[in-house]
């Protein structure tokens, strides 16, 4: 299986091609076309162990609300967008950039206590759209891009779950 992995960490962004080929109980791994000595196995739920030329990494993986993966290894974190180039339904491109029509999701469960914009408003990148109260703290949800608020689903007083669509900005 061939994958394209778009990786973003504290040190920057990078793109890698990873080929995984079943080989007995493990895999033959090609990284950017080069064979590497990598032993990869699921060690525990959501915990992948990779031993790369004898150097051991335990990597914890959780899905993000945008459909990417958040990877943690020790104190370091990466966000990975994995694509299968052969899949006929490609994932949306440029997932890390706020371009095109943007869905604004609630990052946490809580209660909408204030609307800072209304449908049709022109907003700047970083401008507040909605205020959500969770654990007695107020969190401003901001627009990821400059554009027009196409729709505002959130209503004052409404309880929302993590991942609920609050608004669309185009």
């Amino acid at each position: 299986m061939k994958y394209e992995v778009y990786l973003e960490g504290a040190t920057g962004k990078s793109k890698h091609r990873v080929d995984l080929e079943k080989d007995g109980s493990g895999y033959k791994v090609l990284l950017d076309g080069q064979p590497v000595d990598a032993d990869v196995i699921l060690a525990a739920p959501n915990a992948v162990s990779v031993i790369l030329n004898g150097t051991a990494f335990e990597i914890h993986i959780a899905p993000t609300l945008e459909g990417h993966y958040k990877l943690q290894t020790g104190p370091h974190e990466y966000v990975a967008d994995v694509r299968d180039p052969r899949a006929w339904r490609g994932k949306k491109l440029g997932g890390m950039e706020a371009e095109g029509r943007q869905q604004i999701l609630a990052p946490m469960p809580g209660k909408v206590i204030r609307l800072l914009a209304k449908a049709g408003d022109e907003v700047e990148a970083g401008q507040g759209l909605v205020v959500i109260e969770a654990m007695k703290m107020q969190n401003e949800i901001r627009s990821p891009k400059r554009g027009r608020v196409e729709r505002l689903h959130a209503q004052e007083g409404q309880a929302v779950n993590a991942g609920d669509v609050l608004a669309w900005v185009d």
Binding site: T11, V29, H60
Partner: protein
Amino acid sequence: MFRKVLIANRGEIAVRILRACHEMAIPAVCVYSDVDRTALHVRLCEEAYPIGPAPSRESYLRIDKLIDVAKRSGCDAIHPGYGFLAENPAFVRACVDAGITFIGPSAEAMETMGSKTAGKQLARRAEVPTVPGADVPLEDPDEAQSLARAMGYPVMLKAVAGGGGKGMRIVTEDGAFASAWRDAGSEALNAFGDARVFLEKYLEAPRHIEIQILADAHGRVVSLGERECSIQRRHQKVIEEAPSMVVTPELRRKMGEAAVRLARAGGYVNAGTVEFLVDANLSFYFLEVNTRLQVEHPVTEQVTGLDLVKLQIAIAAGHRLPFAWETISPRGHAMEVRLYAEDPDNNFFPCPGKIVARRIATGPGIRLDEGVYRGWTIPIEYDPLLSKLIAWGNSREETIARLRRALDEYTISGIRTNVSLFRRILNEPEFLAGEIHTKWLDDLLTRPRPPAVPPRPGSEAAAAIAAAYWESIQPAGTKSGGTEGNRASRWKTEGRRAQVDRLP
């Protein structure tokens, strides 16, 4: 001993009390709100009852419901834990009226010692030092200045009607007193329409050091030594340790005796904590009394070898304290960090959510007190405390090394935590040297962050391989949401909503 104990709390402290009951072979009853049905305290107990909707006002703070559960289930004692109703005298009275023992002090002791003003008056009567100052507003500038000279500079002028730093002046020398007095008064008049000001000794960079006490119903009161709690973020304790690096055996004895005198004067019974501010000259001043078990009690347990919760239960059952001494020498060193579901990169906003994966810290000198597990969704309605990670060792150095090692072992994914804050603090030279005070952490957080430790060579390659491998083992059709995703099916959610919300 008690027939059965009701635990009127949730989360890690409910689990802590449940463990004490199990060790003492006392049957225990837990309670839960709607969102806590699968909380760890409910999973670990043998008997549990629902007490209402998620908001604590409608569940954990409902005295009537708790007393009702206690009566129905045949409990003859209630442990309140900390927070919620632990310092509410009305709850204590409701227990007494229902013939149930409250595991804690009497309502009267709670009222006299728990309030800041009443506590301060009691401290004066018990000859416990308080921050020197005038309780009554001063009128005459000359009288005020001679008082300032008598208590020694620096002093602070505070508006009677004050708040938000308005009408507040710190005076460091006698020559500056008169102008500061005028400024504070006129600023207070402008801001609050009231020019009157108080005078108080100003403590520069004080430490917060507290004394744990235990008092039985037979007149024995003991001090279990101090906890250093100066590492605070906006007045919230973040790291606690015992012993304090500045407390000498002599100071420990003096502070312990002061705390014991105060407890006796207030007729206090059960576990309590007397908080002090300690200045650079190691003079200590009474701050307030916490009339309950503290979050940071494990630190004292690790250096004394005592189990405070079991002792609380024994004291409430009328047993005598089994010690003869009135002060104690701590053995070794212990330190606790409070791991919260909050985002240190985003102003410490709470980040509740589902714990997708977790690796816990264990091994020599490590204790983990917590109410969470893999798969648990942290509710938004309560304090986002995840775990208290406690390390102990022979020395402070060994304790810090163990804590660092344990923080590397402890991994949690699916939610953000403040673990990076502790990695930073535990490497700060001032912290390691013990040069800390109650504003130290707030100051530290305004300084630029030290450069991050670079990832080990190969980290990026390993991450790319892990991500591709993870994608390859996801069941077909689930795409990248994964089996452990947070997103519920919209069809299911909609179906449930249709069933629940029948009225328009």
